[in-house]
Amino acid sequence: MSTASVATTSSGYLLVLAVMWPVIGILLSFVVSGRQIERLAWIVLPVGLVIAGATLIAVTQAGQSQIYVVGNWAPPLGIALRADGISVAMMMATAIVICVTGVFAHGEFSQPPGGPEERAPVVFWVLLFAIWSALNALVLGSDLFNLYVALELLTFAAVPLVCLKGKKETVEAALRYMLFALIGSVLYLLGAAMIYGAYGTLDIRLLSERGHAEPATLIAASLMTIGLLAKTALVPLHLWLPPAHAGAPAPGSAMLSALVVKGSFFVIIRIWFDAMPDLLSFRAAQLLGALGAAAILLGSVLALRQQRLKLLIAYSTIAQIGYLFFVFPLAAGLATGVAWSGIAWTASWLQLFSHAFAKAAMFMAAGLIAEALGHDRIAELGGIGRKLPITMLAFALSGLSLVGVPPSGGFSAKWLLLLATVMEGQWWWAVVIVLGGLLAGGYIFMVLGRLLASPTEVPALQAPVSRWRECAALSLAICAVLLGIWPLQSSDFLFIGR
Amino acid sequence: MSGLLHAFTILAVSAGVVFFIAGTVGLVRFPDVPTRLHALTKADNVGLGLVVLGLLPYTGGLLGALKLVSVWLLTLLSGAIVTQLIARAVR
């Protein structure tokens, strides 16, 4: 057992910091009182961003994974953290969205001066730290059980966020989310138990070196995937998502839709592309792709039929998650070195990041509109765009990225995906991608049309809207658009460490 | 001597088992939660006591015997509390 192949690399300590820095924030939040928690956030957020940036630079410069062997106990006995290209990209996107969300939440979740400590602000900031820590642990973890703990951390941070407003519908949505997430965790855990029983290790790198032809492994991987799909809300396990994401306060919705569902998706990728690359059969990949296609069509059609803006955006999330699953049929050749698989691989990550930015921006914009009007009924939004031009611009830019209009990250992603379908000869996905784009165009322009309309009487604003918060939403929308300058080819960066 | 001890153990443990069975029958047959609790706790406390008593000669020392007796006492105490909690919940 002395194949000491893993050792801590020079920048490995950054990975520990990335996971533990927000944890320090959580622990301190319990003992400092009310108003100081937000001040604490103004330290935690920028430093966390710097840690993510430093990790990104370290991995890029080294051109290979950065590893930290925790406690110097090498796997299989111990746990290692590992940062490859996709994990640092994910870390960076997480850091950006979290920091902007923090800026956006300022004001909405600030303690009123002088008064006693209030519930919502304390809870919100701690949950924000927890989501950050959990996501970093998820993208850096390379041990299936360590990932389980990180997944639970993410769930326990996400569920209270849903019902932070304390209304009955949101509590109901949170409970439903909780039950789905719990079943998901249990199935994942069962799969992990089987894997340990078969290989005596849960370390992803070690697993990839051992053969996997047994049926037990396939059952285990399927169980884990089903569990994770329930957390990712892929059709047909999507029922919990719309009420949960629409019910949360705007900064919460932004994090849930942009980041939290991607966390469990990331683990699915780890299982099929890293832990057991030779297990992904043509049929399994097609099945996952088909579920993704169903999600795109169903989510988009349901989004078109929504009366309320936040629900529309939530259904749009279901559709956009669907695109991510084309990575299985289109990039399945990655393990065996098929050249064009790299394009689908790049496209999928581009889709993930551009959706993260665009959806966070869109939920923030919707939150501002709802705050200004006191409601978010689409039919009565007429002309609000004239009152809130920056918010409308944020909504429009992020909408364009979701539809896939150039130049935007969404366009590049969908273009590369189409390219991959052609190269792979799997034209049926191309049909769905084009159709999904058209449907997305339908629901986005439906809303934009309302926002831009010039009715006889423009609705009065119920509450003033802070310019600062509008700019926060806009900045994320601009990030989504800027991703469009990503070169339209397979990106080497996303292949670091594989 | 050892024969006598064996006989004692067999007698005590069997008597304990009889009490356990009686308690279980009560649990199944009695109509509502309070009476069931009544049957179960009374009979099982005596039953466990008899089993412990029967096993005492085999503990091989004072410390072992003390451990066994403390198991019985702790069970009595925790059983009483759990019964209280259940009865309160039902009320």
Partner: protein, 311 residues
């Protein structure tokens, strides 16, 4: 003979599990669950996993039972809410679940020729940790990161529970045991048992380094004792804004994290211990963790704040 015993336990477990699912009354189902948990601890002993057996008895059946029991009592009126699905749906669900069970049983029958194990590796490295209980070695040395993150999960769950109180009650106390008359029999128990329980918890935590036991089990016993005291109204539940409570909650994880970072300086890295002081440090962490776990679990079971603070 041993196999006969096991067959008995297994059939009882399955029968009781089925009864729990089928029982009409939720309260009855909860009581069955407590019994199920105790039987499950015996099963763990039969599987040579005494540490797990203790955890299962303390958490799985003990404190979870207390939590569910009080919840079931409070929800008695809602018993009729929602109807069971129709018979065909039940049959379909039943067949699906039977299929899954059969598949799992198939996996059980498909073991590798030589079952893989990390036991030799865990034992071989145990000397470096100074511990004698290999399970403690896994929890506090080899996989310390999991244990640390799990402590954060616990704290987060508690914050989630607190967040479900009303805005007005924030900073107040859980309503546990507010209505117990002073000469109630439960009050007597709540005065007699805790001293024994605290000694027991301390022993469990201390012995965990070399024998089955440890911070989890000891902390849970502490939690149950405190819950009992609160339920009997002997000591009121503390307000969640209490500084003392907040410090107790984070003391364990904070010490664990601090020692973890100290590892960068005095040992081979994060969460590594210097060989000479490994056992002392781990026992110190376990004691702090047992306290924090005790407070966290008890407050988790006590529920969200409901009583506002008296000015």
């Amino acid at each position: 003979m041993a196999l006969v015993f096991d067959i008995g336990i297994v059939s009882l477990l399955i029968a009781i599990g089925a009864w729990m699912i089928m029982a009409r009354d939720t309260l009855v189902a909860v009581i069955i669950f407590v019994v199920y948990g105790l039987l499950m601890s015996i099963a763990w002993v039969r599987l040579s996993a005494v540490d797990v057996a203790l955890t299962e008895a303390a958490i799985g059946s003990g404190i979870t039972g207390m939590l569910l029991l009080s919840a079931a009592a409070r929800l008695r009126q809602t018993e009729g809410a929602g109807a069971r699905p129709s018979f065909p749906v039940c049959v379909a669900a039943g067949s699906l679940c039977a299929l899954i069970s059969a598949g799992l049983a198939g996996v059980v029958l498909l073991p590798a020729d030589v079952a893989p194990t990390l036991a030799p590796l865990a034992v071989a490295n145990l000397a470096d940790t100074g511990l004698e209980n290999p399970v403690a070695g896994v929890l506090f040395a080899y996989r310390a990161l999991d244990t640390l993150l799990e402590k954060v999960v616990l704290l987060l769950a508690l914050l989630g529970v607190w967040s479900l109180g009303s805005d007005r009650a924030w900073g107040g106390a859980p309503a546990l045991g507010a209505y117990v008359p002073p000469n109630d029999i439960l009050v007597f128990f709540a005065q007699v048992l805790p001293p024994i329980g605290i000694v027991f918890a301390a022993y469990m935590t201390w012995t965990g380094a070399s024998h089955p036991g440890g911070a989890f089990q000891g902390g849970t016993v502490l939690a149950v004792m405190w819950l009992l005291v609160m339920m009997a109204g002997v000591a009121r539940a503390p307000p969640i804004s209490s500084t003392k409570v907040r410090w107790l909650l984070v003391a364990g994880p904070a010490l664990f994290l601090a020692v973890g970072f100290l590892g960068f300086v005095i040992a081979a890295g994060f969460l590594a211990y210097p060989v000479d002081y490994a056992k002392a440090l781990i026992v110190l962490i376990e004691i702090a963790l047992a306290l924090s776990i005790g407070v966290t679990l008890a407050l988790l079971a006590a529920g969200p704040p409901e009583r506002t603070l008296q000015p």
